[in-house]
């Protein structure tokens, strides 16, 4: 029985140490740059159909959605990750903190807006970043789902 207690204690210590590591580990977030416009009716990739439906439901009617870029960002506290958008703007992403396992991320478009997002497993945040090539550019933040595209 002493052997079992020892194992359980080891497991508890491992769990505690992993929780401590999680507080220091970088937070990953999927970011997509999507151009929504009324030029044509392209959906590239087709998975953007969900975004189109969400926008239509919210009253934003665009006929075409094209993903211009997609990347997984790794955010660490005290370090800003910058992204250059096709419309010449720059977006900065910064991990504000981790509270109860939930990360808060600040998204800043210099000279325009600063948004704080509490990350969650479901849903996305569609941040309008301005016009581009006759349409509107959006930065979409989502949770990484085993590396698959949302």
């Amino acid at each position: 029985m002493k052997f079992c207690y020892g194992l359980m204690l080891t497991g508890l210590l491992l769990s505690a140490s992993s929780a401590a590591r999680a507080e220091e580990a970088p937070v990953e977030v999927l970011s997509q740059v999507v151009l929504a416009s009324n030029q044509g009716d392209a959906l590239e990739p087709p998975s953007l159909g969900a975004m189109k439906a969400q926008f239509a439901e919210a009253g934003f009617v665009f006929s075409s959605y094209r993903r211009l870029s997609f990347q997984k960002l790794s955010l660490a506290q005290g370090r800003e990750v910058g992204m250059d958008l096709p419309n010449g703007r720059r977006v900065g992403l910064r991990l504000q903190g981790l509270k109860g396992g939930t990360a808060s991320v600040q998204l800043e478009i210099p000279g325009a807006v600063s948004t704080v997002v509490k990350l969650g497993r479901e849903g996305s945040v569609f941040q309008h970043t301005g016009p581009h090539e006759g349409g509107q550019l959006f930065l979409v933040l989502s949770a990484p789902k085993n590396g698959k595209l949302p």
């Binding site: 009324n38 665009f62 325009a112």
Partner: protein
């Protein structure tokens, strides 16, 4: 040679008698003869002395030889017979079940405990760091000072949130300034959307509504 004719019968039996190789009945007969025959008694004594000398000589020879590596040398020359893998497994298992049941039970109990701890730990690690909340949530949206935009937040279902940056009207004195109106609303989004967005505009801390001339956003 002996003058006693009985000695001729017992003479070949004397050496086996000394070596203890006779049957009990023969031994008794030889002992009876020795008891009465002085010559054969002397012969038996000679045989015993000779045997002792031979044994002593052999022991001296054995002492001179080095037998320290004898066992290893013999074992090295013996090619061990290797059982097939399946038979070895069967043999090992049968030995474990026969002689080490307690150790096996402890090992199984320990493995079960390790699984009880490790499985939830591994499952927990699959969730990415920072995503304890079930849904995404926008905490605050703030327009930067001097920016001529008003952020409009529309919460959709399933944790989706759309943040739209609406241009604010340019003050009359700035109307002619080039670039004062940085962004334009997309074509196709008419007055109807503007009205809807107006209702969704974020409220500041205690503020009733944002100043349309200077939107600053606020806590949601």
């Amino acid at each position: 040679m002996s003058s006693n004719p009985a000695c001729q019968t017992f003479l070949p039996m004397l050496s086996p008698f000394v070596d203890g190789e006779l049957l009990p009945a023969q031994r008794v007969e030889v002992e009876r003869h020795i008891a009465v025959c002085h010559d054969c008694t002397g012969r038996v004594a000679d045989f015993r002395a000779e045997s002792g000398l031979v044994r002593l000589g052999m022991e001296m020879l054995a002492d001179e030889a080095d037998f320290s590596q004898f066992a290893q040398g013999v074992m090295a020359r013996i090619t061990p017979y290797k059982l097939p893998l399946l038979d070895r497994w069967k043999l090992s298992l049968s030995e474990i079940f026969a002689h080490q049941r307690a150790a096996l039970a402890y090992a199984l109990a320990g493995a079960a405990c390790a699984l009880l701890v490790a499985v939830p730990w591994l499952m927990r690690d699959r969730e990415p760091v920072g995503y304890a909340s079930p849904q995404m949530a926008v905490e605050s949206v703030n327009a930067e000072r001097g920016a001529r935009i008003s952020p409009v937040v529309k919460r959709a279902k399933d944790g989706n949130t759309i943040i739209w940056l609406v241009d604010t009207p340019v003050p009359a004195e700035d109307a002619g300034t080039p670039g004062a109106r940085g962004e334009e609303l997309p074509q196709g989004l008419g007055e109807e959307m503007d009205e809807e967005l107006e209702m969704e505009r974020p409220m500041g801390n205690g503020e009733k509504a944002l100043d349309p001339q200077r939107p600053t956003g606020g806590e949601l």
